[in-house]
Amino acid sequence: MPWNRRHLLDLQSLTAEEISAVLDTAAHFKTVGERSIKKVPALRGKTVVNLFVEPSTRTRISFELAALRLSADVIQFSADASSLKKGESLKDTVRNLEALNADFIILRHSASGAPHFLARFAQAHIINAGDGAHEHPTQGLLDVFTIRQEKGRVAGLNVTILGDILYSRVARSNIWALRKLGARVTLCGPPTLVPRVFEKLGCRVTWDLESAIRDADVINLLRIQHERQRKTMFPSISEYAGLFGLNHSRRHLVKPDALIMHPGPINRGVEIDNSFADGSQSVILDQVANGLAVRMAVLFLINGGRQEEIAA
């Protein structure tokens, strides 16, 4: 088995074989969700803490349901009602959770590298559920899982990621997973949000929407993250929608079998319009369903992992 890790911190450090191991395992967990009894006892007696220092709904619910379907006990710990508000450090919070025998800590944090920091001292398994603009590894895994499921492969496909790349942890995790599995990755958006430095990750960077989507087998749209942006990144939302939004006027540019993906939550009328979001090429809801199977697979695999991460 090419998996021996105790934590899932990022996709940058995973091998293609490790990524494939998660996808293969997730495929089996997906069939569990199709049974009348959707629960298996694999993590019976384990305690999973959802430590979401930054707000999230869909990722938190997906992890919670994944843990419950593996028969683990789940504790929700959100920042707005917690000791972190009272000035407790993240390290002390985690030590307190470990004193309660938490086996898994799923961390969402606004600081890049926060899960890596925890992995240096924590006894529990750490899963990164999104750290700043760094990575969101389970989102990257569920996106490549969805592509592989729909297209039968990832290698050799043209995948375009469109939108706010600079601030997006989803983009970074996707880039790592896609490049390792052999896809060709194109990044597109306004120059302020798609700097040329991403070419160093092996991606094509273009600011021309037409050239970005014409040959794409997959178009992954990222949300414009108002909360992370200073107003100077582009003049207005409506200008962004006009220049980079995927709408019906661009239908003729998109391959008829291209997959339309979006990690959610979608801003209808900004990065995507209804004709694409609800169209037959959209796999946006498949991504949500697959996310559950991928997170079950991650919990299952790291529960069996023995190898200590080398703390950077």
Binding site: H28, F29, P41, A42
Partner: protein, 177 residues
């Protein structure tokens, strides 16, 4: 070092005998489903289903069952490779014959019982194994048995089938230390 426990001819005879015993203990009306436990039991299950087809003169459904989500020793075993589970239709009310290659601690069989429980409520479940090597840790016994063996604890039973190997045979091997 290794020696042959079953050669191709005796392995074939063992399967034929087991199939006839299955047919004696289960009527045609019981709707027998032969289920191979991943990974060692799946080819044996298919072969038993084919012999039962000769006996009963009708198709005998067979399936596969992965038990890694239901094991009680996950913490001790590290990360497991998961394989497919495919049951041919509803198992409720049917007679299930679980098939595995080697019966040792009994923990795989126990996990298989739990896993089947998630799919329905069979009328009965019986266990067929090619090799019983003793060493049980649970009150579990085979209903249909190919051969008994008494290897030392550091020896392993290697079941080789033509689906993967050159010939059918069962070897007792000294484990590499």
């Amino acid at each position: 070092m290794s020696h042959v426990l079953l050669d191709a001819a005796s392995l074939g005879r063992a399967l034929t005998r087991m199939a006839h015993q299955i047919a004696e203990r289960n009527g045609d009306e019981d709707g027998v489903i032969v289920v191979g436990v991943q990974a060692g039991g799946i080819h044996l299950a298919r072969r038993l289903a084919l012999i039962l087809r000769e006996i009963w003169q009708r198709d005998v459904p067979h399936g596969t069952l992965d038990v890694s989500m239901h094991r009680d020793d996950l913490d001790a075993r590290g990360t497991l490779v998961m394989r497919s589970t495919h049951l041919p239709g509803d198992i409720t009310g049917r007679a299930i014959v679980l098939v595995d290659d080697v019966l040792y601690s009994g923990r795989t069989a126990r996990a298989a019982l739990d896993a089947l429980n998630d799919f329905g409520r069979p009328r009965r479940i019986q266990l067929a194994v090619l090799v019983d090597r003793g060493g049980r840790e649970l009150p579990i016994a085979a209903d249909f048995l190919g051969v008994k063996a008494s290897p030392r604890a550091n020896q392993r039973i290697d079941v080789r089938l033509t689906e993967h190997s050159q010939r059918d045979e069962v070897l007792v091997e000294d484990a590499m230390s």
